[in-house]
Every structure is written in C-alpha cells, then in structure tokens.
Symmetry: C2
Subunit: 139 residues, 2 copies
DNA sequence: TATTAATAAGGAATCATTATCAGTATAATA
DNA sequence: TATTATACTGATAATGATTCCTTATTAATA
C-alpha cells in the first residue's frame, strides 16, 4: 500500500533546522524557523524548511503542533505535554501540568472512534500582552 | 479605543447560514457551509459566508473552532464541549464527555498567563476510515 | 570512483482567508 | 413618505501559508 519510507539522510540543512528548533523553548512557525536557520545557512530555501519539518515530524524526531491559529508550529520536545496560546499575539508556550493519560480511555468508551491521543490547548493572555492592555487603558 | 460595534442586521444570508449550520451535527468548514447555503441562495458570495461566520462568532451566536487541520470549522452549539478529529479524513465530531471546569483554575496556578479557557481535541480514526483501512489490508 | 537515489534551491502554483470597492438594501428620522 | 446614514452584499483582487515541480547537487554504497 504505502511505498517504503526512504531513509533519512542527515544533511547540513536538516541538522541545522533541528539544532535551531532545539535551542528555543517557544514553538516557532515554519517561517520563524526559516529566519533562525537562515542566519547560519543564508541560501536555504523556505521549501526546504517546510519539507524537512514535515519529514522529521513523520519520523517522530520533532512534533508538529496542530494548534489553533493560521500557522502550524513545531516543537523539538516530543513527549506529550499541553500548550497555552496567547489570544492576542498567537504565541504558544508549554504548560507545566501533568498529562491526563486516563482521558484517552475515557474517550474510547464515549466514542466509536479509535482513539489515538489527545491534546489540551489553553487560551489566555501572555504577560507581555497583559502589560500592553494595561497601557491601553491608561490612555 | 475600539469603535462601537455596529448593530447586526438579521439579513437573509445571515439567517440561512445560521439555519444550515444548525441543521448538521458535524462542524463544517467555511466552504462546506458555502456549498450548503448556495442550494438556497445560489448567488451568495463566498466572502459573505466568511464575513458572516466571523461576525456571528464575535457575537457569540456560533463557535469558531480553532482545531488542527488547515481549515477553520464552525459550530452552532456554543456551550463548551470537546472534539475528536479523524487523523485520516479530517472530520470533526463532538465527544460526549463532561467538561473539566477545574482545568482552567489548575492552569492559572501553573502559568503566568491570564487563562481564558481551554479546549481538548482528541485524535483518532473515525468508523468509516477504520472500514477503509480494513479493506486496504485485505488487498 | 561511478552509480543512483535522496535532497536542495528556486520559483510557480494552490488553497484558505481577508480586504477592497461599488452598488444595494435597510433602518432611522425629518 | 422622502431623505439620509449606515450596514450589507457580491465580485474580485490581494495576501499569506503551504505545497508542488523542475533541475542541479550531494550523500551513500557497489
């Protein structure tokens, strides 16, 4: 059915993308990663960044976050954890609360889907944007 | 700061969009809603559908789902509930498990964000796609 | 080292969504 | 009811994110 997956070469581009993504605690979008990587590889193409993020996500090397907002975000930490997204600026951070492994079982009994996993996304206002909002009130 | 919100007129287009969205239990995308509405209003524009879905979401009449996948989805049921998305066909269904209101408080203590809410999205394979996968194995 | 398969870069193409604008419909009120 | 102000529509253009395509490179290995 599926063609055999080609072996992944560890090219310079791929390595740098992975390194830069691992450096940050945020969850950058493809074009943010492109900007980060371009400082070290000025001739890299945006398409290369997209292709490799996709390939590495398929191989479980990184996580592609299917969160709200218009752009997909990527994460070098692959173990399950939850996220919080700023409703104002769109930034995504990790949330340090334990993962509810029981949720998947609970969902299995409530649904005819074959459950694969779950993700919790909180919405809020980040500290920076809280400040900006306060300033706006003062004007 | 913000201009006063204009009053919302209940135009035919708006009414039909709301009616069609209320008819279905799924969570259609804007273009799916466009197709549904066009059977009754053949001359409606796609932009009108987008504009009105956005306005009605701002007014709390419907829910704009910030779920994974490339397209936004809309929901006529505005009370908080969780969703499950098919990893294969992208369909989104409701999940009948109770909402964890305590989660928001828990997140508040774990984060410096001002928490507004949360959403849980399960991933799985819908019954239809399970069938298709079984058929593929037999070949 | 020669072969070949995966990969890169660059640009075109696509898809979803938003913005613009000119004309129309509706509500407010004179 | 006529006038005026404003919301709204439909068509189309513009934008933004992502994917696709083509040709040239590059890494693995025979």
């Amino acid at each position: 059915m599926n063609a055999p997956a080609p072996m992944l070469r560890l090219t310079t581009q791929r390595q740098v993308i992975l390194e830069e993504l691992s450096k940050v605690k945020t969850h950058p979008t493809a074009s943010e990663i492109y900007d980060m990587v371009r400082k070290r590889l000025p001739r890299i193409g945006l398409g290369t960044v997209y292709r490799n993020l996709e390939l590495m996500a398929e191989n479980g090397m990184i996580l592609k976050l299917e969160v709200g907002g218009t752009q997909k975000r990527f994460d070098a930490t692959t173990d399950n954890h939850y996220h919080i997204r700023c409703a104002r600026c769109g930034k995504v951070d990790d949330l340090e609360i334990p993962v509810f492994n029981t949720l998947t079982e609970e969902a299995s009994t409530a649904s005819s889907y074959q459950i694969l996993g779950h993700h919790i996304e909180f919405t809020g206002i980040c500290p920076e944007c809280q400040k900006i909002q306060e300033d706006e009130y003062e004007e």
